[in-house]
Symmetry: C2
């Protein structure tokens, strides 16, 4: 197959981890006889510096003409004091909205060989394997009215039935391919939006009798993610709760730099990025962990290109390298062999 | 001194832990020559069953005529399917709003002798000593419009300058009595309300040059609470974020049943309750941990009655009993001597 991929490397280590991911995809292409065409676009801080906008029109065009988007990371202290329409994150919010990337997938999986670096006790983190499904283009992030003056501020949490239903359906579909369990997180004892959310979850659940489900309040979920994280299979929740809970969950296995994400449109088009930030302090040093970016492209192979064997091959390659005792520099002092970004990339390629 | 205290025992174990707290306060009264008058009122599920409202008028009257309120816990599966105006939690929201209990204090402290029960590695949980200050009567919980029908739902996050300022000032005042550090948590890269929040924090901070402060995004805070919880001193945040983060933080030391809370009006009047729920499954068995309720009354002595020595005496008594190796039944298999609710209460009293 031939696929065109928009590559938005972004800022800081976004560049080097994206380069790593591309080399690995090239190896997948060679092995499985696919041809990837890479089209580069600007996003975030660099885009602000170069063309004065975090999401340039040219970048939108490039993405529109592509089959998927891969993204490194955006942001840095340099742009932190810009007004909000000129901040790197604004580019992220705009691209999500423009391409209707309404379903955000954040898998969190414990690598057994790295449990010693988890902040949680090993027996608590062991066996964690969850998928957080976050609604990404609605809720408090986008509702109107939304303003502040010197004395008052208003944000609005709005959800329409369709916005809720599509993400909930996605979660139930995923559960069928996993352990058949969905936990829907809301605050239905307080919020009206959560009451509609819960109602729609009930309706969708009725269409998936084989999938077990429950409702959990967001405060209880924030607790259980720490006390008993391995109990979760698929978690589905609205935008703001998903932002908080997915970041909370990302630290429980101690391998933040390894975690991928996908942001999907209903037709399967998607944007793929590691969950880590641009880490300006270590940028350009060839020490960043490329695994988050690499595993994100495995999600792309699976979700946007239906290349299941290719995705599995890539994920197995990563697992093999980790199990062989290799890691990158954030895991010091745990008796493993530390590789640079490019060495780690080569090791993974050698397993493909 | 003579103080009248409204006692809302609530549901489930709320009753027995409140009784425990009252016995301990009686002992404090004997030792320091204070007289406490207890006036009992209904709240929550029992109130719904008895008078058809979660917060009866009679209870409001009792509280209005008292110097402080102590509360056990409300709720239970029995009332879970009631319409929202007839749910126990509604009583909680109403009492907060009616008495303008706008500042919620949630201290989280690691007891060194109990670190083995924390889900976090002992070296991560060790030394945790933070105070979470949550705005409690504004934001998404109370803003209008707020409604849902079958197709759409809206909640509104509203904050006025005064609502933000009073809770931020409270946080800075507390920091002065602690380690002089405030972390303000918001989502200023997305929410308008957070931008006003951040601005007001800056203004207040300028009046407290001796207090160090920083801003943290809520998703980053959710991570750092797990990776490096001992770095926090005072955290201040808005209602919804505070709900999630304070519950998340409550599990990091493994001693949920020991954690107190205070909900204060600006003039010092307040409501004091343990953070745990009504735990219907263990209610009436004399095995619940009364320490959360007991430490809540220490907060009452300090914040509403300015009885500092009394509060310290009570807290020291609890600490001594824990350090002597006693605990309640939730800490099985850690080689400590397990006491019933009443035995634990007697042990604490014997230290006063
Ligand atoms: C940068 C920010 C707007 C964004 C969000 O809150 O959605 C980020 O935290 C994320 O989770 O991707
Ligand atoms: C019961 C509920 C309304 C309440 C809240 O969210 O404020 C509770 O979770 C709490 O934190 O006291």
């Amino acid at each position: 197959m031939k696929k065109r991929v928009a590559v938005l490397r972004g800022d800081g280590i976004g560049k080097e981890v994206t380069d790593a991911a591309i080399s690995v995809l090239e190896a997948i292409g060679r092995r499985f006889h696919h041809e990837f065409e890479w089209v580069y676009g600007l996003l975030g801080g660099e885009a602000i510096d170069t063309v004065g906008q975090p999401l340039p029109d040219e970048t939108i065009r490039i993405c529109e003409e592509s089959d998927a988007i891969i993204l490194g990371a955006v942001g840095g202290p340099k742009w932190d004091n810009h007004p909000s329409h000129l901040r790197p994150e604004k580019g992220l919010l705009q691209i999500r909205k423009h391409f209707e990337l309404s379903v955000n997938l954040r898998p969190v999986q414990a690598f057994k060989s790295l449990l010693s670096v988890s902040p949680l006790k090993e027996e608590v983190a062991e066996g964690v394997d969850m998928m957080i499904v976050r609604e990404l283009t609605g809720g408090l992030y986008f509702g109107e009215p939304s303003f502040h003056d010197n004395d008052k501020a208003v944000d609005t949490l709005v959800y329409g039935r369709d916005e809720i239903e599509r993400v909930v359906v996605h979660a139930f579909e995923l559960a069928k391919q996993r352990r058949n369990k969905v936990t829907s997180v809301d605050k239905a004892n307080v919020l009206e939006s959560s009451k509609l959310w819960r109602k729609i979850v009930e309706e969708v659940a009725a269409r998936y009798p084989e999938v077990e489900y429950d409702h959990m309040l967001v405060d209880a979920a924030a607790m259980k993610l720490i006390t008993y994280p391995s109990a979760f299979d698929v978690i589905v929740t609205e935008n703001m709760f998903g932002d908080i809970l997915s970041d909370e969950a990302s630290v429980i296995t101690g391998s933040l730099g390894m975690l991928p994400s996908a942001s999907l449109r209903v037709d399967g088009f998607g944007l793929y990025e590691p969950i880590h930030g641009s880490a300006p302090d270590i940028a350009g040093k060839n020490i960043a962990n490329p695994i988050g970016a690499i595993l994100s492209t495995a999600m792309m192979l699976r979700s946007s290109f239906s290349m299941l064997e290719e995705a599995n091959t890539l994920e197995t390659a990563v697992k093999n390298v980790l199990e062989a005792g290799f890691c990158t520099s954030e895991f010091k002092n745990i008796g493993r062999q530390i590789l640079s970004t490019t060495e780690m990339t080569e090791k993974i390629i050698s397993e493909i």
